[in-house]
């Protein structure tokens, strides 16, 4: 990956990240428009994927994996497939050129224009052309390049740029479009008469199509066995652009090659469903050589792609078919849009590829907005592990960014359990006078940016590990598969220090299910916060200590599924190249369980065991990573309904992230507040006044958010909710009990 200066291209015209982030937050059109879009897109896309299963006889997962493997075959042997494509395209009469940089690509096209005497070009929508800054380069060479995709043309008229890979002007409202068109075309437009606007655009662009000497397009795929260019559009501008001018130039990366036409059809089946929720786009065109009397030039652009291909962690990003689905499910993208969440390439994929095309500096700001919820990886039709790749970019940004040394020191300190113990005692002491009803109330508007929308929790004097209740004996309620089993309880640093009632409740539940609960004394942090922040050295240090502390053969249970995700998915990557530790990490992964899964599995109590108690309806926030990485689905809902017999009210968008995102809510509090607001609105709409979830960080985030918003919602970790219903007769907790602070 490049960490050098931005490559040639349009980066220079893009405002600094902080300015884009502030601008996006100030534009209410962005989040309002994108929220409606994400909701309707999800429904349409899901329905289309179900329909596809009926058509293809196989589901989304199988078709995705099959096509991803085909893309990988090409990416593994680029030279062979480029040669095959070139041979067939040239045999059909096309000119194929390979260029290294954006400047070379632009130079080649400008030179063609000069030699052919071309001064007007029409252009189909092409992200590669945005990537290389083609319009500006052509303008400098005296060639006017007119965008012909409606959205792109509007942006060009306004001097704006795309904020979405597929719907470039998604951040515009119809009133703005009507005003822009009125100014441009000199006739009044009714903002609600979009068909009239489309008709006028058709008329306005017609002359350009008829007189342009050059048609510029990208390509959705290149087909090696036939030398064909596949071009997908809905408006019909792609066919006109590639047909009418006597010269057609395609700008494309060689990663778009697929071996065969049959493979291109596989891509078609996934592409439109993922992009716009259509079964197929209106026009899917296969161009095999030039039209008689015309010229076709195909410019294969590297511009950082080889470097990306050489990086094993990031190479799968080259499978991308530019459907934009990753942005359509990204809760952070919904709040700030593509101008902040991305660079030229927007959305989660943009957070990965920007570093390769436009340098690490361009990628450093946007990558900090990723909440690591995993929604993008689940929806990606070519199985790109986007959250892991974004963390990889973050690691690079961490190592080379400003203040790297200081941050490294801070994480080194955090890796030390004794230091954290002392620090949290000091913090608890300092916060003592500010404690009010389970929260910390900061005076004088201190840290407003961080606490105005999320009241921080009270900081307990005694962590969970120091509480007698954690070790209090309890008679089993009923025999379970876990009866008599030794279970190591992993407390999690956040719960241990900020929500000690959660591990205490977890221990009580495990004992009620008959398990013998052991609390290994040397445990501290699994390493997730440092890993999330990009400091892999500190993360490894903590991971090793955790593996040591939890050594043995017993089951490990934690009430923090985020740590389970870390141990199951990230330890192996963290120890890549270190077989001994990787093996130990794998051994740990085989023994670790999240509490809800354990209570629904081996430690399952008979139905109705916890029926006594509060009957108020409950709604459940599904921890996003639990949904996307642990396949938890409706496990929590079923567990609560089964054990307690209370009504569990469905929560809309239950698995959409709550906005906690670890460090993201500290680095970009406004973004986190926006994501939280979406969640709390859904909770409010559910009608339930009790909100249960199972990740401690999310509990504190949601609880503080509901408090700051003045909502009468009680937020509980599932362990707290269930343990509060344990019969008192069986409890033998210490006298200091639950109120212990």
């Amino acid at each position: 990956m490049s960490d050098g200066p931005a490559r040639s291209g349009p980066s220079a015209g893009i405002a600094p990240f902080a300015q884009r982030y502030r601008g996006a937050l100030a534009d209410a059109n962005v989040r309002g428009g994108l929220l409606g879009f994400q909701r309707s897109w999800q429904g349409t896309r899901d329905a289309q994927m179900l329909a596809l299963e009926a058509i293809a006889g196989r589901g989304f997962g199988a078709l995705r994996d099959e096509f991803a493997a085909i893309k990988d075959r090409v990416l593994a042997e680029p030279a062979r497939y480029v040669a095959q494509f070139r041979a067939h395209a040239e045999a059909a009469g096309a000119v194929v050129v390979e260029v290294g940089s954006a400047a070379e690509a632009n130079g080649y096209i400008a030179d063609l224009c000069r030699r052919r005497g071309i001064t007007l070009a029409v252009k189909g929508k092409s992200m590669v052309s945005e990537e290389i800054g083609l319009n500006a380069a052509l303008a400098a060479a005296g060639v006017e390049a007119v965008e012909t995709d409606l959205g792109e043309w509007l942006l060009q008229l306004a001097g704006d740029r795309p904020s979405h890979l597929v719907m470039p002007a998604i951040h515009w409202r119809r009133g703005q479009v009507a005003a822009l068109l009125s100014r441009t075309l000199g006739e009044p437009f009714d903002a609600d008469d979009i068909p009239a606007m489309a008709r006028s655009v058709r008329a306005a662009l017609r002359e350009r199509f008829l007189h342009a000497g050059l048609g510029l397009t990208g390509a959705n795929a290149l087909i090696a066995e036939t030398g064909s260019v596949m071009l997908v559009t809905n408006e019909g501008n792609g066919r006109l652009t590639s047909s009418l001018p006597p010269l057609h130039v395609v700008t494309v990366g060689a990663e778009k090659i697929v071996p065969s036409l049959a493979d291109a059809i596989r891509q078609v089946r996934l592409l439109a469903r993922s992009a716009t929720g259509q079964p197929i786009s209106t026009y899917t065109t296969f161009i095999s050589g030039p039209t008689a009397g015309h010229e076709l030039h195909i410019v294969l652009i590297d511009n950082g792609r080889s470097a990306l291909a050489a990086d094993p962690a990031l190479a799968p990003a080259l499978r991308c078919i530019r459907c934009g689905a990753c942005a359509n499910v990204c809760p952070a993208y919904q709040v700030v849009g593509g101008h902040a969440f991305g660079h030229i390439y927007t959305g989660p994929i943009g957070l990965v590829t920007t570093a390769a095309h436009h340098g690490l500096a361009a990628a450093a700001g946007p990558q900090s907005l990723c909440l690591s919820c995993g929604a993008c990886a689940t929806v990606c039709p070519v199985a790109i592990p986007l959250p892991a790749q974004i963390l990889e970019v973050r690691r690079e940004a961490f190592a080379r960014g400003r203040g790297a040394r200081l941050r490294r020191l801070a994480w080194r300190a955090f890796a030390s359990r004794p230091l954290v113990a002392v620090a949290s005692r000091l913090l608890a002491l300092a916060a003592l006078p500010l404690r009010a009803g389970g929260f910390t109330r900061l005076p004088f508007g201190l840290a407003r940016r961080h606490v105005s929308w999320r009241t921080p929790p009270a900081i307990p004097w005694r962590p969970a590990r120091a509480r007698a209740a954690l070790r209090a004996a309890r008679a089993p309620l009923a025999p379970t598969a876990a009866s008599g089993r030794r279970v190591l309880l992993f407390l999690q640093c956040v719960a241990d220090r900020l929500a000690p009632e959660v591990p205490v409740a977890a221990a009580a539940l495990l004992r009620a299910a008959g398990a013998e609960v052991i609390v290994p004394p040397d445990q501290h942090c699994c390493g997730l916060p440092a890993f999330d922040a990009g400091d892999h050295d500190a993360a490894r240090r903590m991971a090793r200590a955790t593996i040591e502390a939890l050594d043995g053969t017993d089951d490990i249970v934690t009430a923090a599924p985020s740590c389970v995700v870390m141990m199951l998915h990230d330890y192996a990557r963290l120890f890549a190249g270190d077989p001994a530790w990787q093996a130990r990490a794998l051994g740990l992964a085989g023994r670790v369980h999240d509490l809800a899964g354990y209570l629904a599995g081996p430690a399952r109590l008979p139905a109705g065991t916890l029926a006594a108690g509060d009957r108020a309806p409950v709604t459940v926030h599904r921890f996003c990573q639990g949904s996307h990485l642990l396949h938890a689905e409706d496990r929590l809902e079923r567990l609560i309904a089964d054990l307690c017999g209370v009504e569990v009210v469905p929560l809309a968008e239950a698995e959409v992230c709550c906005g906690f995102g670890g460090a993201t809510s500290l680095a970009a509090p406004e973004l986190a507040a926006g994501v939280l607001a979406r969640k709390l609105a859904n909770v409010g709409a559910s009608g339930a006044r009790v909100l249960v979830t199972d990740n401690p960080g999310c509990v504190l985030h949601l609880r503080g958010g509901a408090h700051a918003a003045g909502l009468a919602i009680r937020t509980l970790h599932v362990a707290e909710y269930l343990a509060a219903r344990l019969p008192a007769a069986h409890a033998s907790a210490s006298p200091r009990g639950a109120g212990e602070r």
Binding site: L150, L154, M167, R174, R269, T282
Partner: protein, 175 residues
């Protein structure tokens, strides 16, 4: 329930805002074009005019053939265009247009309403038939799977029919 490819094609094509007509022969196609054209002209793909010269006679003064020197300008915004489709695909309601000649393409790209005529025997179940059809045609320089009229959702995601391509598509299943 066994659904024929034609029935499935009709359902999918209508979902994509095409109109589907089952017609017995070319005279009926001409009649449809005349009915759709009103006072306007009916542009004919030159390859179709060569294969079915009678169409020119039936259409009479309405008939419009692209000018060889300026095919686009000569048929732009014709009220109706008629082209021949190589396949109709039930899976997506698409019609495969094989159009290496620019003049044919100008009719399918620039007419306001487009009639695509596909023989009944060329209605296939799945997109998997497309690679074979293109190979059979000798990898033509230009072929498009078209599915309904041209559209955009670029302004506030509002589906708007009719942008640069035809604003109405009539698929005729012939015979």
């Amino acid at each position: 329930m066994v659904t024929s490819a034609v029935e499935t094609f009709r359902a999918r094509a209508e979902e994509a805002q095409s109109s589907v007509h089952a017609l017995a022969g070319w005279p009926e196609v001409a009649a449809l074009a005349i009915a759709l054209a009103g006072d306007g002209r009916v542009a004919l793909a030159p390859s179709l005019a060569r294969a079915q010269p009678a169409l020119l006679a039936w259409l009479g003064a309405r008939a419009l053939l692209p000018d060889a020197a300026a095919p686009a300008a000569s048929v732009a915004d014709a009220a109706v265009g008629i082209v021949r489709g190589a396949l109709a695909v039930a899976e997506t309601g698409s019609v495969l247009l094989i159009e290496p000649d620019l003049a044919d393409r100008c009719v399918s790209m620039l007419s306001r309403a487009l009639i695509q005529v596909v023989e009944r025997g060329r209605v296939v179940e799945s997109l998997d038939a497309v690679p074979g059809a293109l190979a059979e045609a000798g990898q033509p320089a230009y072929a498009s799977l078209t599915t309904g009229p041209s559209r955009t959702a670029d302004i506030e995601r509002s589906l708007t029919i009719g942008v640069q391509g035809p604003h109405a598509v009539h698929v005729v299943v012939l015979g």
